[in-house]
Subunit: 93 residues, 4 copies
């Protein structure tokens, strides 16, 4: 079943994802051009920061819509919280 | 105002915190004894894993009690979610 | 000046980067299709793991070639170590 | 065999470790006093930052002394690099 993310928020997330895809292409070009390791590391660290930011944004959206949002049943909230707890535990840093 | 954490859960958290404090004391002893850097790194990495685990556990408890918990008002849930979002953003990794 | 990364290693890194680019495209498709937040989070977490792995691999290559490698001058090793220390400090998690 | 860390650096590391131990004691007091989850999360996040900083500092010291340091043999440098690579891979974040 498709999800009812707000279209404006979905578009903003899509923009972020495209930007990260662009950063990956830049890394591909750097590698092909034989860039220095140190420069590559800065580029990859930039992607990592952007991916972490994307993850936190989706996490927060899920938290607000599927756990805190008004009008949900207790079961829906518990399921939303379970999903976030699973993410936390599986990808604990 | 003191917080109504379940006493059994509070005791479990306290145990975890004491265990981490014990790991820090072991690192202190290693440093005093002039331990190898590599051994110290493994010890510190162990503490880091334990601290991350503690953080995820408190985060999850807050999520279940102060955002998803039955019987809260919409405002209380929104405030609980705000607190978690602040943590996510401020300490984004 | 172009860098003398071993061509086979460079090709392996390029493959990893292309795989991550493919994962980003899959996330783009999921967003366009209105995927669930929880599914998106798993996809983004997968990218994060892959990006961390890429970063560690380049870090290790730099360490072995530009700091530990035989035949370098003391100055070259110190510069290689400085570059890694800068990365560690700037992107400390 | 004990390690030849510079005594001044060892003393600085010891100070950092004691400070983190002090932060853990503060968390213990907060738990005992029934502190809010959100306050606990900020305290634990502070410890996590301090532990990451400590880890990066020991990592960098090892890198400079046991990999980049002048006067080491090729074998010693390779072993120093292996130890750091092991840490990176085992505790990849």
């Amino acid at each position: 079943m498709a999800h009812t993310r707000d279209p404006k928020h979905n578009a903003a997330l899509l923009m972020r994802v495209k930007r990260i895809a662009g950063q990956m292409e830049a890394i591909e070009r750097s590698l092909t051009a034989g860039a220095e390791c140190a420069d590559l590391l800065h580029q990859v660290a930039g992607v990592r920061g952007a991916v972490n930011g994307l993850m936190d944004e989706i996490f927060e959206a899920h938290l607000r819509e599927h756990v805190a949002g008004p009008g949900l049943s207790d079961e829906e909230r518990a399921r939303g919280a379970d999903e976030l707890a699973t993410i936390l535990r599986r990808y604990a840093k």
